[in-house]
Amino acid sequence: MDVGILLQVLFWGIYAGCIYILLATGLNLIFGVMKIVNFAHGEFLMIGAYVTATVFFFTGINPYLIILFSMLALIAIGAVVERLCFRPILGTGKLNEIFLSIGLIYIIQNGAAVIWGDKWQSVKSPYEGITVPVGPLAIPLDYIIIMVVTAGILCGLYVFLKKTKIGREMRATSQNRKGAMLVGINVERMDILSFGIGCALAAAAGTLWVVSGQVFNPYMGSIPAIKAFAIIILGGLGSLPGAIVGGLLYGIAENGAAYFFGGIWKDAISFIILIIVLIIRPTGLFGESGE
C-alpha cells in the first residue's frame, strides 16, 4: 500500500477534524457552563458560513479575515438566542431544551432560506491552486491555513479560559454553578458569554468550511451538529481536550473508513467508535464520572 496515499487520507482526516473540533468545542463550552442540550448548534455553523460568504461577495475581502467578523456577529446572535430562548427555560427540564432547540433548527433554517435562498453556494479562496510540498504530498495552501487558524483559535480559547478572570469565572461556573454563585460570580453573565463564544466557534467552523471550497445551503448544519454531539460524548461531556481529541479521531476515522470500506461507511464508523468507547468507558475518553 502506498504510504503517500495513506498520508493524504490522514491529512484529509485532520482537515475534517479541524471543522469538527471547532464545532464540538463550542458545543462543549455551552454544555459545560449551562448544561443545556442545543441541537441547533449546527445552524450557527451555517449562519457563520453565510455571513462569511455574504461579506465576501459584497466586499471581496480575503475570507480568512472575515472569520473575525463572522465570529463577532455570531457572538451577538448567540447572546440574543440565549437571552430570548434558552434562559427562560433553563432548569425546567431537558425535554424543554430538546424541543426548543429542534424548533430553533427549523426557524433558523427557514429564516436563512428566506434571507439567502436555498440554493447551494460556494466561495473561492484567494489561495486556491497554490500547493505546498510536504514530504511526498503536495498540500493545497488553504488546508494548511485552516489547520493553523484552528490551532490559533484553540490556543486563544485556552489562554482565555486559563489566564483571564472571566475565563476562570466561566470554568468555575462549569465546575460548580451554585458554588460560583456563592462566591459572587454572575452566572447568567457566564451563560450568555459561553453561549456567544460557543456560537462564535461554530461560526469559525462555518467560515473554514466555506473557504475550503465545500458547498453550503441553509440545511447544511444538521449532520455536523449530530456529529459534534457524538464527539463530545466520545471525548467526555464538558471536556475541551476531549472535544479536540474526539474531533480529530472522528475526522481521521471517517476518511479512513471512506478509503478502506467506501463512502457509505463514512458516517457509520463514527458512531461505531462512539458505541465501542461508551461500552469500555461510559464517561467518554476525558469525561469525569457524574458529568
Binding site: D2, W12, V215, Y219, G262
Partner: protein, 442 residues
C-alpha cells in the same frame, strides 16, 4: 293498520330499488365533465435537491400557464375546455417528506394525476401509496429503472418520462468506448489493445447504483475494452469528496464517471482538480445540465462531459431548436433564470398529463392510465425516438434521443459552456483532450 307480510317485503324492495336509482342519479355529476383538472406536482422545494426541485416546479407552472392560456384541456367528447390547476407537494429531498407530500396530494387535495419526482430513493419510497390509491403518475426526474421495474408493488399507474440509468449509463459507456478510448490511443500513442481505465464515483442510492450497474453490464455484455479501476461511493448530499478522489487517483484512471446530483458533482470535480490534482476527464449524468452546475464549476469544468437531452445553454440544430428556445424564453421571462433538464421533462410531463386526460375524456384514474398506455403524441421540446412521445408496453418508459456535450471555459463569463460532440449527426465540434489532461501512466 298492519300490512300483510308480502306487502312489507314489496315495500322494502321498492325502497332499495329507489335508493339504488338515487345512488345512480347522484353519481352522474361525478362522471360529468369536471370543472378543472387537478395536477399534483411532487418536487424537492427544500433540502439538498431544492435547486433542481425549484426548477421542476417552475417549469410545471410555465406549462400549465400555456395550456390555460389556450383555454385549458379539451376533453374527448366535449366542446368546452377545462383549466388545469397545479398543486405542489414538497418532498423535502427526503423519503419521509416524499411520503407526506404524495399522501397529502392524493388524500387531501384529491389530485387527478401526479407529475414530477426527482430522487429515485425518495420517489421509490412513496410508490406504495401511488399503487394503493391507483393514481396515474408521470415521473419526470427519478431515473432508476426500479421505479417502473420493481415487482413488489403494482407500478402499472407509473410512467417514466425520462431516460433511466440503464439507458444513459449504457449510452455514456458506449461514448467512452467509441470516442474517448480511440482518441486517447491516438493522442498518446497507446496500443489499440490497451484497456481504457475508467473510475466510477457514484451516489450510494438507487440512482448511483443504477449507473454503476449499467456501466458494468454494458462493459461485460458488449465485451468492451474498458477496465473499471476504482468504484467509490458517497452518501447523498455529501460535500467532501477528497478521500474517495484520493483513492481514485491512486488507481490511475484515464477518466472518471460521476453519478451525482449537481450539488455533489460540481464540488467533486472542483476538489479533484484543485485539491487532489486529478487532471482527468469527468463524465457527468444528464441531471447536471443545470445552470447552477456551470456556475459552481467555474474554470474547473473545462473538458468535462455531460450526457444530455436538454441543456440551458445549447440545443441540437433541427426542428426542436425553436421549441426549446420558446420554452427557455417563457421560463426566463417568468422566473428570471434558465430552465434545466428536469424542468424540461416536467414541462413535457404537464402536457402529457393534459393530453392523456383529454384523450380519456374524464379524470377517472383507470381511464387516464389507459390513455397514458395508449399515448402517441408528437414530441415537444426534447428529441424522442421516432419523433413521438409514447410509453413502452413492458415498463412504461418513453424513449429519448440523447447526446454528449463537452464543456469549454468561457473567460468572459467565467463559466463553462457546452458543445455537442456526439453523435455525429448532432455534433458541432469534436471531442478534444484539454491541454492539462493526464492519462494514466499504466
Amino acid at each position: 293498520m298492519k300490512l300483510p307480510e308480502k306487502y312489507t317485503v314489496l315495500l322494502i324492495a321498492i325502497v332499495i330499488i329507489v335508493a339504488l336509482c338515487a345512488g345512480c342519479t347522484q353519481q352522474t355529476p361525478a362522471s360529468a365533465q369536471p370543472t378543472e383538472v387537478k395536477v399534483g406536482v411532487i418536487a424537492s422545494l427544500t433540502g439538498p435537491a431544492s435547486n433542481v426541485g425549484t426548477n421542476i416546479w417552475q417549469s410545471a407552472q410555465v406549462a400549465a400557464n400555456e395550456i390555460n392560456a389556450n383555454g385549458g384541456v379539451l376533453l374527448r367528447g366535449s366542446t368546452t375546455k377545462v383549466p388545469i390547476r397545479l398543486i405542489v407537494g414538497d418532498d423535502e429531498s427526503t423519503q419521509q417528506g416524499g411520503q407526506k407530500a404524495a399522501t397529502k396530494l392524493i388524500t387531501d387535495d384529491k389530485v387527478d394525476i401526479l407529475v414530477g419526482g426527482y430522487s429515485s430513493a425518495v420517489t421509490s419510497a412513496y410508490e406504495q401509496t401511488i399503487a394503493e390509491y391507483k393514481i396515474p403518475y408521470i415521473v419526470t426526474g427519478a431515473s432508476s429503472p426500479i421505479i417502473t421495474h420493481r415487482t413488489d408493488i403494482d407500478t402499472s399507474y407509473i410512467f417514466h418520462q425520462c431516460p433511466t440509468t440503464d439507458t444513459y449509463g449504457q449510452y455514456t459507456t458506449t461514448f467512452i468506448d467509441q470516442v474517448i478510448r480511440p482518441a486517447a490511443n491516438k493522442k498518446f500513442n497507446f496500443s489499440s489493445t490497451r484497456p481504457f481505465r475508467l473510475a466510477l464515483l457514484y451516489q450510494d442510492t438507487a440512482f448511483g447504483k443504477g449507473v454503476q450497474a449499467a456501466v458494468n453490464n454494458t462493459i461485460t455484455k458488449n465485451n468492451l475494452n474498458i477496465v473499471l479501476v476504482s468504484q467509490q461511493s458517497f452518501k447523498m448530499g455529501e460535500s467532501d469528496f477528497r478521500t474517495p478522489l484520493t483513492a481514485i487517483k491512486a488507481a490511475q484512471p484515464d477518466a472518471v464517471y460521476l453519478a451525482a446530483f449537481p450539488n455533489e458533482g460540481a464540488p467533486a470535480i472542483t476538489q479533484a482538480r484543485r485539491d487532489i490534482g486529478l487532471d482527468t476527464i469527468f463524465l457527468n449524468v444528464e441531471n447536471n445540465d443545470n445552470a447552477q452546475f456551470y456556475k459552481d464549476l467555474g474554470q474547473y469544468g473545462e473538458g468535462a462531459i455531460i450526457e444530455s437531452r436538454f441543456s440551458p445553454y445549447t440545443a441540437p440544430v433541427g426542428t426542436l431548436a425553436d421549441a426549446q428556445t420558446k420554452f427557455k424564453t417563457s421560463y426566463s421571462t417568468k422566473w428570471g433564470t434558465v430552465p434545466d433538464m428536469m424542468g424540461a421533462s416536467t414541462y413535457e410531463g404537464i402536457y402529457i398529463a393534459a393530453q392523456a386526460i383529454g384523450n380519456a375524456g374524464t379524470t377517472d384514474k383507470a381511464a387516464v392510465k389507459q390513455a397514458l398506455v395508449d399515448l402517441n403524441m408528437p414530441q415537444l421540446i426534447e428529441a424522442m425516438k421516432g419523433g413521438t412521445i409514447s410509453f413502452t408496453k413492458d415498463f412504461r418508459e418513453s424513449q429519448f434521443d440523447l447526446w454528449m456535450e463537452q464543456l469549454a471555459f468561457n473567460q468572459t463569463i467565467g463559466e463553462c459552456r457546452p458543445n455537442i460532440v456526439w453523435p455525429d449527426n448532432l455534433k458541432v465540434t469534436d471531442f478534444v483532450f484539454p491541454s492539462w489532461y493526464k492519462p494514466s501512466s499504466t
